[in-house]
């Protein structure tokens, strides 16, 4: 169970912080140019943070008590490859879900 104080702290500060990030340049910097090194790092934030967030969830899924799980691993690989090749988020999600349920059904887990 998530502590309520901690939850609301995160909701409010994350809301303000996200607005701050969205407003920082359009609102405060105006037309002044940014240092190239900063832009270069910012370009990779999404691909640097999200894969790191997902990797442990794929390798040690909480639903199986943290042990490697074939259907979940297969679903993750199919989603990643489909997304990379087809460049279509929705199709990749659907293929991943189909793989997951097919795998779970095959192993008699659903």
């Amino acid at each position: 169970m998530i502590d309520k104080t901690s939850l609301w702290t995160v909701i409010v500060l994350l809301g303000l912080g996200s607005f701050g990030l969205r407003f920082v340049f359009t609102g405060l910097i105006g037309d002044r140019p940014l240092p190239a090194w900063l832009l270069r790092h910012l370009r990779y934030t999404a691909v640097a943070v999200l894969p790191g967030l997902v990797a442990p969830l794929v390798v040690w899924p909480a639903a199986t008590g943290g042990s490697l799980d074939a259907p979940r691993m297969a679903a993750a690989l199919v989603t990643l490859i489909a997304g990379y090749v087809l460049r279509n988020v929705i199709v990749a999600i659907l293929l991943g879900a189909v793989t997951l349920y097919a795998g779970l059904a095959l192993l008699g887990q659903i």
């Binding site: 809301g15 990030l21 943070v49 894969p51 790191g52």
Partner: protein
């Protein structure tokens, strides 16, 4: 090209934003469901989506809070996921930096992956647009997207607890994120950043408070930036 009115750029924005309904509806529904399963009530779940309005960051914060990570770590990690918004803001500035403060604040609130992506493509393609035309387009893209984000978060929160265990919804989040990440891996630099991030996140998973994710994120960003520099230098060296 014929002269466009602000009205026509608004509707062009609506048309360009509409296909994203297919992404927004399941994603926000999922957030509502996952948040309810984590013990949030309807009001808390909806507040999350209205105040933060960023799916990946919302899921990150929720995941870490459910894992029992300290408040500061959940907050910092989610903000790190949202750092790309600063990048979007920087890149929109030359186009809408001249708008009024109120308009810029409103555009900032509605800067999400989809509105940014559509806007930057349209602005580059139509350099003749005035600032009001650009803003009209931007808010046009937002119109079919953001209200649905709130509505389907609410729907997800309301149906959340009635979803059976066997659906393996624990894995909806990894699949959604992987599907979002994969198309972003456009260059060797992006691939290298993602690879370093995955490796370090697994190696440093033993660290408390999910600090491993921060290590992985920072190292991933530095890797991406360095690989980009190296490739640029090589390209320059090859030119006569």
């Amino acid at each position: 090209m014929h002269r466009q009115t602000t009205n026509s750029t608004y509707w062009q924005g609506v048309r360009d934003g509409a296909p994203f309904i297919l992404v927004i509806v399941p994603f926000s529904l999922l957030f509502g469901v996952v948040a309810t399963e984590a013990g949030l009530n309807v009001f808390e779940t909806l507040s999350f989506s209205v105040l933060v309005i960023a799916g990946a960051a919302q899921f990150t914060a929720l995941q870490l809070l459910s894992d029992g990570a300290p408040t500061a770590i959940a907050l910092i990690s989610a903000l790190a996921v949202n750092l790309r918004m600063a990048m979007y803001s920087a890149s929109l500035t030359p186009y809408i930096g001249g708008a009024s403060l109120g308009q810029r604040a409103l555009a900032a609130y509605f800067t999400v992956d989809q509105s940014y992506t559509c806007a930057i493509v349209a602005f580059e393609k139509n350099p003749g647009w005035s600032i009001p035309q650009r803003l009209a387009y931007f808010f046009g893209v937002v119109t079919p997207i953001c209200p649905l984000w709130y509505i389907f978060t609410l729907v997800g929160a309301l149906v959340g607890t009635s979803i059976p265990e066997g659906l393996a919804l624990d894995f909806a989040l990894p699949i959604t994120f992987l599907a979002m990440i994969a198309p972003m891996l456009r260059t060797p630099a992006h691939l290298a950043a993602a690879f370093v991030s995955v490796t370090l996140a697994l190696v440093f998973a033993f660290l408390p408070y999910n600090l491993g994710l921060l290590v992985a994120g920072l190292a991933g960003m530095m890797t991406g930036a360095q690989v980009e520099l190296i490739l640029e230098r090589r390209k320059e060296a090859r030119l006569p």
